[in-house]
């Protein structure tokens, strides 16, 4: 089976990761997954404001995911929405297990994710970018986080859904994976599928995440070992 864009079912979209794209951020990264582009900037660890939200003995990870008004075909209303707030929370939960937050008591680590161009899979692109940006900022981590969305179209398992595929697919299953621990930190699921299929899909997703992980490491290497 060939997909709309000529990929094989288990193929990722052309993936390009660049670290250190923002000058004023402590660490930053840009991820291009096909036509989806995400830019992540990490600031800090820095002083936590408001003070009353400081956590004793650990840092607070603050994520903000936003889609640019010009990122979609139809103009998106600028500013946070219900959807972006939810995804911000989901991204934070996906990244948190990878970071040694206890190394920076009372501090805050700010992660800003901006989607410049959206063609589905924005949260996964955002997580990929954020994890590279965190490593680039020198934040102590247990490992990088890689993420990809998988689905099932016409009875076939497909990796990294793009554009219309998201609507064609029986389900949309974004997975964030910590390749070092072999653990999953994000698993969302839209649609309905038998248990067996879900297990297969998760396996496929983790395999794709390993691939992404290698590219993330290469991007960091390129940035620092010029």
């Amino acid at each position: 089976m060939k997909r709309n864009d000529g990929r094989k079912p288990e193929d990722l979209r052309p993936l390009e990761i660049t670290a250190g794209v923002l000058q004023n951020a402590t660490g930053s990264a840009m991820v291009r997954m096909g036509r989806t582009i995400a830019v992540a900037g990490v600031f800090g660890p820095r002083e936590m404001f408001p003070r009353r939200l400081q956590e004793f003995g650990r840092a607070c990870l603050k994520c903000r995911y936003l889609m640019a008004p010009f990122s979609t075909d139809e103009r998106a209303r600028p500013g946070p929405s219900r959807r972006s707030k939810e995804i911000s929370m989901v991204v934070r939960n996906a990244l948190e297990p990878a970071i040694f937050l206890e190394d920076y008591p009372k501090a805050a680590i700010d992660v800003y994710i901006d989607i410049i161009q959206a063609d589905s899979g924005t949260r996964t692109a955002g997580i990929n970018a954020a994890s590279v940006a965190l490593a680039d900022a020198g934040v102590p981590m247990r490992g990088l986080v890689a993420a990809v969305a998988v689905g099932k179209i016409n009875g076939k398992y497909v990796v990294d859904l793009a554009g219309k595929e998201e609507d064609e697919s029986d389900c949309d299953l974004p997975v964030a994976y910590l390749p070092r621990d072999g653990k999953i930190s994000l698993l969302q699921f839209d649609g309905s599928l038998p248990k067996k299929d879900v297990k297969e899909l998760v396996k496929l997703a983790t395999k794709a995440c390993e691939e992404i992980h290698k590219l993330q490491q290469e991007a960091l290497m390129k940035r620092w070992m010029k």
Binding site: R46, F56, A98, F100, D136, A137, R142, M221
Partner: protein, 230 residues
């Protein structure tokens, strides 16, 4: 002994396995999980006997006791000053950290240090709730007047200083500048060739991961100009 998966001066990203053995110990910026030692930060591997550590390439400054830092006074309070030392926590310089007796009820302490002043102090205490206290008791501590303040990556400060101060001493003597380096990544320079000195520091910052940097810097200093083409 088990063979190392990463060797001295190898580049590692967080989560990279350095060795799978209980014969080694995790040092700075490394952690143990099960039998293996992994890198915690992005950086270069350093092997010192049985201890494995990683020199970070980027990161913010974390205050620790006895560090010499440069900071800006951001607030004057009734019995001390609040200092910004470019770290996730505010530092405090109490009146007891300044030489001599000062009666805070009779003197306006903003005449000693005022908001906006740049000072060079020593970190006297950092406790578990991350309250940082600075002291100006040391003889080398002072308030700066004039000169220029430069911010560099705190992770690169050891490289700028060099082994027992070799690099910074060379820059000081060859450019004739007075230079003070704070562990927190702030530098103060004063002298005729301060722009040139800053250019050199930027070069060291950029090429910090390379070997033979001291020789290269020595050549540039002898030449007196930075070759732009390179």
């Amino acid at each position: 002994m088990e063979k190392l998966l990463k060797h001295e001066r190898d580049f590692v990203t967080p989560g990279d396995k350095i060795v799978e053995s209980m014969e080694f110990l995790p040092g700075r910026n490394c952690f143990r999980d099960g039998d293996s030692i992994y890198a915690k930060k992005l950086g270069l591997v350093i092997v010192e006997g049985r201890v494995l550590s990683v020199i970070p390439l980027n990161g913010v400054y974390m205050p620790s006791r006895d560090d010499m830092v440069i900071g800006e006074v951001t607030d004057v309070q009734s019995n001390g000053w609040v200092i910004d030392i470019r770290c996730p926590y505010q530092a405090y310089l109490p009146l007891s950290g300044v030489r001599g007796f000062i009666d805070s009820s009779k003197t306006d302490i903003s005449r000693i240090y005022d908001v906006g002043d740049i000072i060079y102090g020593k970190i006297k205490m950092v406790n578990s709730s991350m309250s940082v206290h600075i002291s100006m008791y040391d003889r080398i501590c002072r308030k700066f007047s004039g000169g220029r303040l430069v911010s560099v990556n705190p992770a690169k400060v050891p490289r700028i200083i060099g082994k027992s101060g070799s690099m910074i001493d060379m820059i000081k003597t060859k450019t004739g500048c007075r230079i003070v380096v704070g562990q927190n990544g702030l530098m103060w320079l004063e002298g005729e060739k301060e722009s040139f000195a800053i250019q050199i520091i930027r070069l060291i910052e950029e090429k910090s991961h390379m070997g033979g940097l001291t020789n290269e810097v020595e050549k540039i200093l002898a030449r007196g100009v930075i070759d732009e083409k390179k």
